[in-house]
């Protein structure tokens, strides 16, 4: 596990941690001061040059768990510990020499998702973003609550960007999270919503 936390043997070039704290929003302090963070790992795409028929599972089982452990440990550290993490999400940016499927392979299997979820004491499915892009393109990552995905106050996003990655033969894999809700959440929740149907909205839609 220590080896995994150091990210050895997975072609890692760089790790970039981004964290932000909102002090005021709309001129007022939030009821709770929340941290948002993303942790991005830049690694060699192990499948560059392979055809779309190439079986991906060998590298997935070798690389994805180590990557998930490295990123998730950095993420909880950036947000103040596992218990502080309330919302989470994940992302992949594929360099232009690879397939989107290569990024999907590293984030959309239990070898990544289950490790991240278990490490963070979560139960929700992980929401995600992916893109194929040039180095330096930003990507917005969606987050939602780690145990109650429908908790509306925790729907939020965090932006990630690595200035010089991904190169065409690289992948950027990201774990992201938040220690709380949006700064001033006030749009209700499923428990407070009236029953809204097209018929009930006739007066608004007419």
């Amino acid at each position: 596990m220590q080896q995994s936390l150091r990210g050895e043997g997975i072609g890692l070039r760089k790790v970039v941690v981004y964290r932000e704290t909102v002090i005021t929003e709309g001129g007022q302090q939030p009821a709770r001061r929340t941290l948002q963070a993303s942790v991005a790992a830049v690694l060699r795409n192990p499948w560059v040059g392979t055809p779309p028929t190439h079986e991906l599972s060998d590298e997935v089982t070798r690389i994805a768990p180590a990557l998930a452990l490295l990123l998730t440990d950095r993420l909880q550290s950036a947000l103040g510990g596992v218990d502080a993490v309330e919302a989470f999400g994940k992302a992949a940016i594929v360099g232009c020499g690879g397939e989107i499927e290569h990024g999907a392979a590293l984030i959309h299997t239990p070898y990544f998702g289950n490790v991240m979820r278990e490490y963070l004491d979560g139960t929700s499915i992980l929401c995600f973003a992916d893109a194929r892009a040039e180095a330096g393109d930003p990507l917005v990552i969606p987050l939602w609550h780690k145990t109650h995905a429908a908790t509306r106050s925790h729907y939020q996003t965090v932006s990630t960007r690595v200035s010089d990655a991904p190169r065409p033969d690289e992948l950027v894999i990201v774990a992201a999270g938040s220690s709380g809700p949006r700064p001033h959440p006030r749009i209700g929740d499923r428990t407070t919503d009236p029953a809204v149907t097209i018929k009930s909205l006739e007066s608004v839609l007419s």
Binding site: R13, K14, V15, R19, E25, G136, S163
Partner: protein
Amino acid sequence: MKLRKIVTIVEEIRTEGDREVNPPARVAVVAAVIENPWAGQGFVKDLTPGIDATASDLGALLAPLVLDALEEPAEAYGKAAIVGLDGEIEHGSGLIHTLKFGDHFRKAANATTLLPAVEKRGPAGIIFDIPLKHITDATIRSHHQTVEARIADAPHAGEIVIALAAASQGRPQQRLAPLSSEK
């Protein structure tokens, strides 16, 4: 000082030129997004009162944060002022080009040299490069480097982003001849 947001970015470089960097090279940036102290006042001739009210507090806020984020002693450092579109670059320069701002960082990092800087104006999400130089000898070539930063929603037109950057070492795989060898 009206503070909206604090942003921390830490880069850890494990390989460069396909060779291991050991120990990994770390570079940290901490930025404060503040309301431009002169927003909405038209052309203010004397910036001194606004500088006196803001610059020292900013330096005291950011210096310990960037050193904490680096988690290692700083060997190189730099600073930035990114002014939102309604402000003057002079506003950002006023806040960072004063000993009241920089001395907090110099003292905390046991540094002696002037901080290299970037000052520019732009929209929210603008990418800016912060130059860094060695903290006690600005002629040490191995430590000349830059780090990029971007905050998706800052600066707003009436805001300024003020940032400090610190690096744990020179460039990864630095191997240029020193300045003295060309004299």
